[in-house]
Amino acid sequence: MASHLVKKLPTKDWNLTIVDQSKDHYYQPGFLFLPFDTYTEKDVVKSIDGLIPKGVKYINKVVDKIEPTNNQILFQDEQKADYDILIVATGSRIAPEEIEGMKGSGWHKDVYDFYTFEGARNLRNFLRKWEGGKMVVHITEMPIKCPVAPLEFSFLADSYFKKKGIRNKVDITYVTPLSGAFTKPTSSKKLSYLLEEKDIKIVPDFNIMEVDNEGKKIVSYDQIEVDYDVLVTVPTNMGDDVILRSGMGDDLNFVATHKHTLQSKKHENVFVIGDATDVPASKAGSVAHFEAETLTDNILLYIAGKVLKEEFDGHSNCFIETGNNKAMLIDFNYNQEPVDGTFPIAGVGPLRLLKESVLNHWGKLAFRWVYWNMLLKGVPIPMVSRNMKLAGKNITSK
């Protein structure tokens, strides 16, 4: 947003400031590859200093509270900052403490997350030495950041253990609170073969009550038990605690946001982007990227005193790693489920939607470069528009 706005707002009238409590910026999609030794630590983290756009101020402080009624931010060191317009981009974090026993004696010993740098790295170190057993890949509850990541993790694990020659000693089970690994009609029809082909077992409708560290099992509210030797869990995802301290969120600390304009529902000079919102789009980097384009226009409209564009359509565009150096691509929005087809040029591609290909896999790996060198600088992705296009999609019925 700062990269976009610094180019649009006259510097004599506007001061742009980024507040970030961290000095490091992580390429979070890379956390998926860290456990399997595909990426190293260096690939997924950079110092934030080199990423701040020219002409933008950077404050490295922890925010204690946002006071939207006073247009003010209070820092933990008791200093304050005033604003005319605030963009909340506080993201989401894992909250393993929400489930009894999850952050217990087994945490990062045989119970791992891969949604944090530490979790992904510790899991990598564990897997390097692991000789096999029961691996349970588990989703605690929705919504989660990058909803396909646990499925990708399962597919990549299958490939990883095959390459290591120990696949016959590893049992992979995918445990989800949803009714299946695939819940949309077209995906269910076209992708269910993947689980069978990779011999991944599935336990659906599983709502976790506790992690039993001693017994090495997870237990659901209806007393279903799943044993593990290593549990790879996606804990509850919640918005940042600053949202709770500021009284701006729902029960998961996500901020009530207008889903088409990205304006806060409560405060007209507060806008929200990315995982911090409660909009019913995926919590994914591509969503934040497309949102940024609409939000830039809307902030300029707001400043000009004009009506905001109700434009954002929930557009999401994600590569899904399926293992064996292949991936799929999905492109969807609030109303359109992922379907097969061609992307970004209708009828041509070169990328294929909802179908495995080697090219899609290279697309996913190339995306790391795109992220650091284009997305963070506010450069649009060629031929990929903010709103989803229907052309190139095989849509049979609604």
Partner: protein, 103 residues
């Protein structure tokens, strides 16, 4: 696709969930409840169903946690009312979409 539930023609998806909540009524709920082996709907069922529908109307995503913390019911009772997949079954009876992922 079209289906006839409790003598009424309604639009449903492949899994039998109503596509349009405005077509829902209590007779439809009773018939789906029988199909889903939830059985007779008591006052407690109706209270929970009403809560789920209100959430849906307000565009709020449904999770077991949210239902458990709603003050309307708790997770234990929710399971007892709609055994074997409470959100999946209760949303179907309530005429609203079941919680889904992105694929």
């Amino acid at each position: 696709m079209e289906a006839t539930i409790a003598g009424i023609n309604v639009q449903v998806n492949e899994e039998g969930y109503l596509k349009d909540f405005s077509e829902w009524n209590e007779d439809i709920a009773k018939e789906i409840s029988n199909q889903e082996e939830v059985g007779e709907l008591t006052d407690r069922h109706w209270t929970v169903l009403k809560y789920l529908q209100d959430q849906h109307i307000n565009d709020i995503a449904l999770t077991i946690r949210k239902v458990g913390k709603s003050g309307v019911t708790d997770i234990k009772e929710f399971y007892a009312l709609f055994p074997g997949g409470p959100l999946k079954k209760a949303t179907k009876i309530a005429g609203i979409p079941k919680p889904v992922g992105c694929i």
